[in-house]
């Protein structure tokens, strides 16, 4: 029998067990179970407390710089000759990406819970920088786990974290990327349960993280509704496009529109060298359901259930899993998920930079690349909103290499 609540709304998940359909849940070691059950209670209490929201809104406005603009990309629209493209400018937030929305919410929760030490994992370094930033702001100890491979390709962010007072711990297990950093962060948490708060950066992990991170990111989609009404005279766009690694920027944009069936919603996965090769990070396109890092979700894995290394030119999308709510939205076909390859993202990065004077993050460039494919096929009154989830200054070295240039 279909769940009555879910039949009425696609926004009411997860259930009491933290499930979105078969996905989500709490697959963690017993040592951590009492902690995540407590975290859920504390989060629910904070959510119901107007003082918590007042404090969060204060920092979002005066520290992060929200609302972020919704910008009509006039030249891009004209060149593509189809849909009207709006860019949600999360790149203009303090620290240069959407990550700070979640960090601001969770750091206030951690403070409320009396935690004194914050740990986090990071891939591209954007979540690490955002976490180090809010820890500096609140005067809390901060330890960031980062894969050794990622440290090498994201040196400027590593130094930023150190300047902000964080300790960056290189992770050499596995391939030294985001998945390995998450393993080590979980090991740290198990070993330091009493004073430590694990500030997960994406809408994944054990319940309540996927829904909590989503809630903190939903401000993206909520602002889009208001801003579109102001600029287009209607609050609903015709389509939404966002990149998906773990999927926090995408779920933040999508979630407020899930119950509006006229809105076509598209998530863009990292296709790496191509989803028909072993070198990609498209877990929905090329994976199957499994259990990792506290949740059930689509995973890149071999026949034995061993997790595979993902590949993407963008360190922020280089993860073999995806948030459980995206897996469910994929299963019920409410959201379309499509892959974009490395070279398409690199080209979109350059076109956006030249056409609009905006250097997008390589992650966001995946969304832009798909919008560039789609927009010319759509009529001129079609309103498309693309999430420009972060700025691309961190990626100029990678782009230079891809273009064969020496810096």
């Amino acid at each position: 029998m279909p769940d009555q609540t879910l039949a009425n709304s696609l926004r009411s998940g997860p259930d009491a067990q933290g499930r979105f359909g078969i996905h989500g849940g709490r697959f963690v070691a017993e040592t951590l179970m009492p902690l995540i059950l407590d975290l859920e209670q504390q989060y629910l209490a904070a959510q119901a407390d107007p003082a918590f929201h007042a404090e969060l809104n204060h920092y979002l406005k005066h520290y992060v710089g929200r609302p972020s603009p919704l910008y009509f990309a006039e030249r891009l629209t004209k060149v593509l000759g189809g849909a009207k493209i709006y860019l949600k400018r999360e790149d203009l937030n303090h620290t240069g990406a959407h990550k700070i929305n979640n960090c601001m919410g969770q750091i206030l929760l951690a403070k409320r819970m009396g935690k004194t030490r914050i740990i986090a994992e990071t891939g591209a370094g954007q979540h690490g920088v955002a976490t180090a930033t809010v820890c500096a702001l609140m005067g809390l100890d901060c330890v960031i786990y980062m894969g050794a491979t990622d440290i090498e390709r994201q040196m400027p962010n590593v130094f930023r974290m150190k300047l902000l007072g964080a300790e960056v711990k290189p992770v050499t297990s596995g391939a030294g990327t985001l998945k390995d950093a998450m393993n080590d962060a979980l090991r740290d948490w198990v070993s330091n349960v009493h004073n430590t708060y694990y500030l997960i950066g994406t809408a994944a992990g054990p319940h309540p993280y996927p829904s909590m991170v989503r809630d903190f990111q939903c401000i993206i989609g909520e602002e889009v509704k208001e801003q579109l009404l102001e600029q287009e005279g209607r609050s609903l766009p015709d389509s939404l496009v966002a990149c998906v690694g773990g999927g926090s920027n995408a779920i933040g944009l999508f979630h407020p529109f899930l119950d509006d069936p006229s809105v076509r919603i598209i998530g863009v996965e990292a296709g790496g060298h191509g989803v028909d090769t072993p070198a990609h990070a498209a877990s929905l396109t090329g994976g199957r359901p499994g259990v990792l890092h506290g949740n059930r979700t689509y995973l890149l894995q071999d026949a034995d259930g061993q997790i595979l290394e993902a590949h993407s030119i963008s360190a922020g999308l280089d993860y073999p899993g995806i948030g459980p709510e995206h897996s469910w939205l994929h299963d019920i076909k409410r959201v379309e998920y499509v892959p974009i390859n490395d070279d398409e993202a690199v080209e979109a990065f350059q076109r956006m930079t030249k056409l609009e004077g905006i250097i997008p993050a390589l992650e966001s460039s995946h969304a832009i690349a798909h919008a560039m494919k789609l927009a010319p096929t759509l009529p001129g009154d079609h309103v498309m909103v693309v999430n420009l989830s972060g700025r691309g200054d961190k990626d100029v070295n990678t782009i230079a290499r891809a273009m064969g240039e020496q810096l």
């Binding site: 070691a29 040592t31 990792l292 259930g305 061993q306």
Partner: protein, 280 residues
């Protein structure tokens, strides 16, 4: 609950230990480490070295709850062709000679989920397993597996930790079978060592709530620590120290030097002697 209906080698072994008034030694070894053949050879020598119960590690690419020693063992096992199927092959090979030593398969959920839980339960039971420890399957998520284990006479063994409080304990005990595994530290395997007085209190607290035998593990490395823990627990688990002893006997390319397996067996014998010397 499941415990009432499941009688197998594990239940029998704890009954024997109780009758003999001594604690048991539980030793963890990773299947396929450093090769399938070496793994089977080690497995076959454990009972004669004094091991009462074997935990056979199923390698996984992302062992979140394990410290450096078992992480490295898992990588070695996968590099030498280890898999869920090969682990069951090793267990079958062990059972050719040994029909009485209980074997508990220990690992993470994804390879089991990937195989299919019903199929896995049937295969594991047929291969000669007596129980399972699935580190990342807490009681809240376990029913989808336990429903299949009962049909095949397998115990699901749960971990309790220092963070498992009075309100949570009944949830853990509800599906627990075989024995209760008390994780003596808040940490990953093979790191810090527990204080025996603290463990004694924790075990006493558990005994008020359950009749299951209680094994204590995580951070127990030496014969002296084994002897201490044997006074307060029904069984003592040593994992990382055994796995590390094996790692110490490997060449640079990861193959076992001559005598490497014997060195592990000698080390285990020392642990067994220490545990069995304690009269309860």
């Amino acid at each position: 609950m499941s415990d009432v209906t499941v009688m197998n080698r594990l239940s029998a072994r704890f009954a024997e230990l109780k009758a003999e008034k001594r604690a048991g030694l539980v030793v963890y070894t990773m299947a396929n480490d450093p090769s399938y053949e070496d793994g089977v050879a080690l497995l076959k020598s454990l009972p004669a070295a004094g091991v009462d119960i074997i935990e056979l590690g199923m390698p996984f690419s992302d062992p979140m709850a394990d410290g450096p020693a078992i992480q490295a063992a898992g990588l070695r096992a996968l590099a030498s062709g280890g898999s869920l199927d090969r682990t069951l092959d090793a267990l079958r090979a062990f059972r050719e000679d040994d029909k009485s030593t209980p074997v508990v398969l220990m690992g993470y959920y994804n390879p089991i989920y990937s195989k299919g839980v019903a199929k896995f339960a049937a295969l594991a039971s047929a291969a000669g397993a007596d129980g399972l420890i699935i580190v990342d399957l807490p009681p809240e998520e376990a029913p989808e597996l336990t429903v299949h284990l009962r049909d095949h006479g397998l115990h699901l063994i749960f971990l309790t930790a220092p963070t498992t409080d009075e309100t949570r304990l009944p949830t853990v005990l509800e599906q627990a079978g075989g024995f209760l595994y008390y994780v003596s530290i808040t940490g990953v395997t093979g790191t810090a060592s527990a204080n025996v007085a603290v463990v004694e209190q924790a075990v006493a607290r558990l005994r008020e709530k359950t009749d299951l035998p209680i094994a204590v593990g995580f951070g127990i490395k030496t014969p002296a620590q084994c002897a201490e823990m044997a006074q307060v627990a029904d069984a003592v688990v040593v994992g990382s120290a055994v796995v590390q002893k094996l790692a110490d006997g490997l060449t640079g390319d990861g193959s076992a030097k001559p005598g490497a397996i014997d060195a592990v067996v000698d080390f285990v014998r020392g642990l067994g002697d220490a545990v069995h010397a304690v009269q309860k």
